[in-house]
Symmetry: D2
Subunit: 393 residues, 4 copies
C-alpha cells in the first residue's frame, strides 16, 4: 500500500534534476586490449581537446558537469589555464587520478615495490598530484595501484602492505583539510597472482586507519565473480566510508564496458542502495564517476549513453515504493517485497527523463542531438596531425 503523502515521482524529479556524473578524460582517448588498440577519427590529442569532448557530453545531458583528470596522461604546464578552459566550455575539473603504473621503473610495483628508490619516485608523483589538486581546486585524489605480483613467492605479501600503508599515510598527511583520498580496490589485472588492494575489505581497513578523509572508491568492474556489489555499497554507506563510484560494466573481468550495458538490473540494485543509504541526498559527498573504455564504439556517444543509463537506473530506484517495500519486508512477504522492487525496475522511465530534459531546455534525446550536432565530424576534420591520446601502454 502506497503512502498518501508523496508521489515517488516528485522525489525522483528533484533528485534527478541535481544528479551529476563525472566523466573521465581518458574515456575520450584511445583504449583497447593487450591485443590491439583501434584508433577512431577525431580522438583528442591533449587534455584541452578531451575537456572539449566532455563538454559536448554535458551539453546534451546536462548531467555531467565535471571531468576527472589522469596524471600524467593529462599533465599540462598550466592547470589554472586548463581549469579556465573547462569553465569556458561549461564544465569543471573534478577528481585527480594518480597513475603510477606506466613507467619502466614500476615493473614490480610502485609504492609497494621492493626497491626504496622506486617507492620514493612513486610517492613523489602522488605528492605532485596533490599539487595539481591545489591548482585545480579538486576535492578528491583517487588512488588505484597496479601493484601486485605475478608469481607466488615473488614478493612478501605482508611487507608490501607495510610499504603501502606508509605511502598512504604520507599522502594523507599531505592533503588539505578539504581534500580527500579515495582508495580504489581491484581483484586482479595487471597483476595476476596477488594485488595489494584486491578487495573492499583491504581498502576499508586502510582508510579506517588513515582517518575520516580517507574513503573507499567502488569500481563496479573490479570484483570477483558472483560478488554482491550492492551489499558492499550498503555496508560502506552504513559505515560512512563510501567515497565514490567508478561506473562501468563487465561480463567477465574488468571489461570497462558502458555502465548498465551488461547487467542493468544490477545497476538498479546498486542505485537502490545508493538511494537507501542517502548517497543522493542533498548533502551527500559521494562522487559518481564513469570509468570506461570505448574500445570499438564512438567515445562521446558512448559517454552520453552511459550517463543516460545511470539516470535511468537512478530513476527506477527512486520510483520504488519504499513504504510498501518496508511493509512487505517486515511481514516476511518474500514475493511481495521482491515485486515492489521489480515493479520499479519494470517501469519505463524514459518518458520521465525526456520530460526533465525538456524542462531544462535540453533535447529529450541526447543521442540524437549529439548526432545532429555534427560535433564528431567536425572534430575528425579539425584534429589532423599530432598523436591521438591513449594510455600509451
Amino acid at each position: 500500500m502506497a503512502t498518501e503523502h508523496h508521489d515517488p515521482r516528485d522525489l525522483a524529479r528533484t533528485v534527478l534534476r541535481r544528479q551529476s556524473i563525472e566523466l573521465p578524460s581518458w574515456a575520450f582517448g584511445n583504449s583497447g586490449t593487450r591485443f590491439k588498440v583501434f584508433g577512431q577519427p577525431g580522438v583528442p590529442r591533449d587534455p584541452w581537446e578531451k575537456i572539449a569532448d566532455a563538454a559536448e557530453v554535458h551539453r546534451h545531458t546536462g548531467a555531467a558537469p565535471t571531468v576527472a583528470l589522469h596524471i600524467p596522461w593529462d599533465r599540462v604546464d598550466d592547470y589554472a589555464a586548463l581549469a579556465d578552459h573547462a569553465r569556458d566550455l561549461g564544465v569543471r575539473i573534478g577528481t585527480i587520478n594518480a597513475n603510477v603504473f606506466q613507467d619502466d621503473d614500476y615493473k614490480l610495483g610502485s609504492v609497494a615495490n621492493p626497491d626504496p628508490a622506486v617507492r620514493r619516485k612513486a610517492l613523489d608523483h602522488l605528492h605532485a598530484c596533490v599539487d595539481v589538486m591545489d591548482a585545480t581546486g579538486s576535492r578528491d585524489l583517487k588512488l588505484w595501484f597496479a601493484d601486485g605480483t605475478n608469481y607466488p613467492g615473488q614478493d612478501d605479501l605482508r611487507t608490501r602492505q607495510d610499504r603501502l600503508s606508509e605511502a598512504l599515510h604520507s599522502v594523507y598527511d599531505r592533503l588539505g583539510t578539504n581534500q580527500r583520498l579515495q582508495l580504489e580496490y581491484k581483484l586482479f589485472e595487471p597483476a595476476f597472482y596477488s594485488t595489494d588492494v584486491p578487495d573492499w575489505g583491504t581498502a576499508y581497513a586502510h582508510c579506517l586507519e588513515l582517518g575520516e578523509r580517507a574513503v573507499v572508491c567502488v569500481d563496479t568492474g573490479h570484483h570477483a565473480p558472483h560478488t554482491n556489489i550492492e551489499f558492499i555499497v550498503a555496508f560502506l554507506l552504513r559505515s560512512g566510508k563510501l567515497g565514490s563510484f567508478d561506473f562501468n560494466s563487465r561480463f567477465y573481468a574488468d571489461d570497462d564496458l558502458m555502465v548498465g550495458a551488461a547487467d542493468p538490473f544490477q545497476l538498479f540494485r546498486i542505485m537502490h542502495e545508493v538511494v537507501r543509504g542517502g548517497a543522493l541526498d542533498e548533502d551527500s559527498e559521494v562522487a559518481f564517476m564513469l570509468d570506461q573504455c570505448h574500445n570499438i564504439e564512438p567515445k562521446i556517444a558512448g559517454q552520453i549513453r552511459s550517463v543516460m543509463n545511470v539516470q535511468e537506473a537512478t530513476a527506477k530506484a527512486l520510483l520504488i515504493d519504499t513504504a510498501e517495500l518496508a511493509a512487505a519486508q517486515q511481514e516476511g512477504d518474500v514475493l511481495g517485497a521482491n515485486a515492489v522492487l521489480m515493479d520499479a525496475f519494470n517501469t519505463d522511465v524514459r518518458p520521465l527523463l525526456a520530460e526533465l530534459r525538456e524542462e531544462q531546455g535540453l533535447d529529450p534525446d541526447p543521442m540524437a542531438a549529439h548526432r545532429r550536432s555534427g560535433y564528431t565530424e567536425r572534430a575528425a576534420a579539425e584534429r589532423k596531425g599530432g598523436t591521438q591520446a591513449g594510455w600509451g601502454a
Copy 2:
C-alpha cells in the same frame, strides 16, 4: 644461499611436533547434498560416539587432540560428563559452534530476521552456547550465520546489519575474559542473493567494532571464485584479527572436501603465510580446525587423511629457505624467488613426517594403522539400532 645458522628441517620438526588440528564432531555424522545423504555403516548416533571416533583419529595421528562441538547437534544433559568422556579417550572438547539455522523459525534468518521474536530466540541460543562453553571450558565460540536473502528486495540489507551488530554485541558482552568470539564469513549458501556476513571485510569490520576478543574465522571454502585466500590470511595476521581456520577444499562452491584434496599448492601457500605471520609460533592463539563433509568416503579415514594433508603442507611451508627467499624478493628476482617457494613445495616431506611419528611412538602410516585397527568394523558391528547422527536438514 641458505643461512649457516639453522637447518629449516630443525624448525620444521619443532613446529610439527606441537602442531594440533581440531576435529569437528559433525564430520563423523552423515552429510550430503540437497540431492541425497548417503549413510555409512558404524556412523555415530550421539556426541559420545562422535568423540570416540575423533579419538581414533588422534590415536593414529597424534595431532588432533581436540574436538569441536555443534550445538544443538551435540546437545547433552551433562557437558562436564562429556568432557570427562573425551579426556578418558585422550582428547579434549574445543570450540563451540552455534547453529541457528535448522529451526523452522529461521526460514528468513536468525539474528537478522525481520521478526524480533525470532531474533530473540536466536540470541537466547547463542547465550546458551556460552553457557556450554563455561561448562566445557572452551575458549572459542564460533559463529556462522546462514542469514541472508534469496531475492532482491526481500529484506533491507542495511537494517539486517544493524540487527546483526546488535546480536554480536550482546554475545560479546556475555563472554568471559578468556573467551573469544570467532566470526565466520561465507559468500553464499544457503542464502542465494545476499548473505549477511559474505566476506572477510564484513567479518573484520564487525570484529573491529566489537573489541579485541572478536576475531575472524577463515573457512577455506567460503570465498568467491579466484579469491586469493593467502592474501586474506596475511592481512588478518598483520592486523591481529585472524582467529581460526576452518579447513576444507573445494573445486566449485563450498564443497567441503578434504583439505588439500583440490589444490594442495593453495594450501601450501596459505601455510606459508601462516608461518610467515607467526600463527604457528609457540604463543599463537590461532586455532586450526577441519570443517568437512565426507559424503561418500569413510569419515574417520577421511579425517586422518585431512590431518596428514595439513601436516604435509605445513612441513613444506616450514622448509622454505626464508633467507634465500627474502634475498631474491629484495633483488626483484621474480623467477628466483618463485623457485625458492617451489623447491619447498616440490620436496617430498612424507619421510620427515613418518620419522616424527615414529619418534612419538606412532605408526609412520596412520591410514594403514587405522585400517589394521579394525575400529570401523567394530563400530559398525556395535552401533546397531538408534539413528545415525547427521545434520537433520
Copy 3:
C-alpha cells in the same frame, strides 16, 4: 527505422497467445538446501495434489497447460488415471524426468557407476520411465545424471564416458518413434570434482552420436560462471540440437530461483535467440519448462510469477525491431544495434500482457487473482495428515 509491413506488436501478440511453459511437479513439493528444508502449509502429499496445484497456475496464467513428472517421486499405480485427473483439471502430463540419484546404491553414480549391477539397476529404471511415457503419452524423456566423482583419481573419467554412452544407447533404442531423449548437462553438484555430463559440448556430442531424436536440454542454472548462455542457445538451434529449456535463475551456483529473478536482461537475451532461432515458431518442437525450488517463498505463487517472467522476457524479445537491428549490425553501428535491443528491453510490456490475458478471459493480474481465490488457504486446511512431498534427500 521500422519496416512498413508489420508492427512487431502483432507478431508478439500471436506468439504470446500460443506460448506455453511446462511446470515441474516437484516445484510444488518441499525443497531446500543441505542445511534445511522448510515446510509450508498446504504442500501436496502426492502427485495428484501436485497436479492440482499446477492446474491452479494454469487457471490464472493460461500459459502452463502441462506438468512434468519426476520418477520415482511421482510414481503412481495407474498413470492413465493420473493423466485423466490432469485432464479433468484442465492440464496434461508432459515430460518424464528420470531420477537415478536417490537410492543408496547410487552413492558412486548410476549409469556410470563402476559396479555393473548398479548400472543395470539404473538402466532398468530408465527403461521403466519409458514405460511411464507410453502410459502417459509423453513425448520427452529428460535425463539428468548426478553421476560424477568427488576426488581426483576416484574413478576413470574416460571409462565413465563409455558406460554413459552404453546406457544412453540402450535408452535411445527403447524409445518409440515419437519419443525423444533430452540430455541435460550440469557443471557440478552433487559431484564436486568431475561430472559426467558437465557442459553442453558433452551433451551435444552424445546426442549427435545417438541420433536425431536425442537433443540437448539447457538448464539456465547449470553453467560455469561467466558462460554466455544465449550463445549456446543460438548454436544449438543452428545445429538443430536444442531440445528444451529448464528455466530458473541463479546468482551463484545452481540456486534454482525463479526464472528472471536474478538477471532479467540475460533471460531477455536468451529469448531473443529463441525467437531468432525459430524456437517459438508454430512448428517448433523446443520445450520450455520451469525447474525451480521455492525454498522460502510460496510455491504456487512462485510458479505464477515465473511464468509471467518468461512471458515478459518473451514479449520484449518479440518487440525488437529486427529490420532496424539487422541494418545497424550490417553497418557495424555498435551503439545503434545495441540501442535497438535495449529499446525493446526497456519497454514496459506488462500492459500488453494484461491485455492479452483479458482477451483470453483471464484476470490481467494472475498473482492477485490467485491470492483472491483462497486456493492456498483451502489447501492448507484440507491437506491435513500424511507427509508433504519433497525430494526425500
Copy 4:
C-alpha cells in the same frame, strides 16, 4: 597392489626421453597488459633472433626442438632460409599461428566480420599462412580468432557462426593431405560479450563438420572459472579430436603465466589424462606447445622453467601405479584411488629428471646452465638498435 611386471619408472624414462614441447616464437618478444608493456634487455628484434633464443632453451633442456611462428609477427621474405637458420641452431620450425586481429580492419572481427571485404581479407591471410606452411614444412595451422562482440545486439550470433563456418571450410579445403587445422577456443578477451569460438564444444562441433584433419587446440588458460580441463582432455582424446595444447597457467583470466605456476596439481591431472588417453604414445600426433607471456620475468629463463614444469608433471603422471589405481576404482575405494594419484603427485621427480638429463649429456640443472652460459648478457650487448619484437598492439 603393484603389478610385478614393470616398474613405472621404466615407462617414465622411456616417455620422458622422447617428450618434446614446442616453444612459441612470441614468448621471446615483449608482452604485457593493456596497462603497460615492459621491455627487457636483449629482447629479439626479428624472427631470426627469436629462433636463436628458442634454440638456447632447447640447448639446456633437450626437450624443445621446435618453434611455432606467428604470422604476421614472424613474416620474413624467405621461409626456407628461416628454416635453415633454425636447423643450423639445432631446432625446427613447427606450427604456424595465423593472426587476424591486429589490423585496423579487424575492429569488428575477421572471418566473422559483418563486412564481406574484411572477411575476404582475413581469409586471404589464412590462405597465405598455408603457403608459409608449405614453405616451412609445417604440419599444423593453429587458428585462434579474436572475433566476437562487446555489446548485446552488436551483431547476430548465429550469422557469425555461418561466416565462421564458411571460412573454416575454405581453409580446410586448402590444406595439404599431411596438414591439419587446429581450432582454438577461448572464453573471452579481447571480445567481452560474445566470442565466436568460446568453448571446446563449439570448436569440436566445427571440427567434426570439417573432417578428420580438423582438431581442437586446448589452451589451458581459456576456460570459464571452475572448468574441469582434464575432463575436456579425456573427452577429446576419447573422440579422437584432441589436436594440441597451448600450455600456460592462470589465477584469474587468460593470465598466460608459466605453465604449472598457478596450479601444479591441475597440470598433473591433465597430464594423467594425457597419458591415460595415449597422447604420449609413440604414434601420438598430439602437439604440446607453450603459449605464455613473460611480462615481468626473463623470457628465456621463463621458457626453460616452463619446459621443466611440464616435464615434472609428466613424470609424476607416469609414476601413477595404474594397476593399483584401476583396482581401487573398480572397488569403489574412494580414498584408496585418490591416494594412488596423490602418491605419484607427492613424489619428488626432480632427481629422476636430472638423471635423464645427464644421460643425454645435458646439465642436470638447465636453469643454472643457462645462467652460467652468459647468453642473456651477450644478447643484451649485441642486440643494440632496432625495435624489440612484441605484439605491436
